[in-house]
């Protein structure tokens, strides 16, 4: 069964800290891994990682994919209070259905 596991479940840090969020998966037919940020409402897209694009960066956020070890990390440097959110990892197992992990709830203390 395709499975996506995120850790930690929650994380509380001070503004300015750097955080690393983890996502591992068990796969039958991997196509891509996506990161989303969810604040009060709908998840919003951050990154998509594939076999041909295993590292992405946007401002203070970056992500890498390790296809051999079947995991991805999302790094946020110099965190701000606006980074407080639930971060969701999802994997496309080749059938265009996204399987989501339970998410990591990140809280940034001013």
């Amino acid at each position: 069964e395709d499975k996506v596991v995120q850790s930690p479940l929650s994380l509380v840090v001070h503004e300015g800290d750097t955080v690393t969020l983890n996502c591992s998966y068990e796969v039958t037919n991997f196509r891509s891994l996506l990161w989303y940020k969810q604040e009060k409402k709908a998840p919003t897209f951050l990154f998509m990682l594939t076999s041909s694009g295993i590292e992405k960066k946007s401002g203070r956020l970056s992500s890498i994919l390790d296809k051999k070890e079947l995991f991805s990390i999302l790094n946020i440097t110099a965190t701000q209070t606006g980074d407080s959110a639930i971060y969701l990892c999802a994997v496309n197992f080749g059938n265009e259905k996204l399987t989501f992990g339970t998410g990591t709830r990140l809280t940034i203390i001013p």
Binding site: M48, L88, A90
Partner: protein
């Protein structure tokens, strides 16, 4: 630039009542999805569609039905509401690749 639009935003149902959650997208995406998100949990796939006239079950389809008569619309039907269906429901569409989400419907069954 509407994207994915869901209605209603909030609804309270009594046990045994029926309702339809509406979802429409204006991006001409072939793939559409319905997810539910329970407190502290990730998103679980209820039903999905790869195009007009084609639908399939996801991880948690029991108690729900869908139809896809047009590319734009993908309504979700609850026939006999139960307290276990209290959740936040998200509709999404994708090209394929990245899924874009509606703002969600918060449903409470009492």
């Amino acid at each position: 630039n509407a994207g994915v639009t869901q209605t209603p935003k909030f609804r309270i149902l009594k046990i045994g009542q029926s309702m339809t959650l509406q979802c429409t997208q204006d991006m001409n995406h072939n793939y559409m999805y319905w997810y539910r998100q329970d407190p502290g949990m990730g998103l679980k796939l209820i039903y999905y569609s790869v195009g007009a006239g084609i639908t399939d079950k996801g991880e948690v389809p029991n108690g729900y039905n869908v139809s896809r008569s047009t590319t734009e619309d993908f309504p979700l039907r609850l026939e006999l509401a139960a307290p276990s269906q209290t959740s936040v429901y998200f509709c999404a569409s994708s090209y394929p690749g990245v899924a874009f989400f509606g703002q969600g419907t918060r449903l409470t069954v009492v």
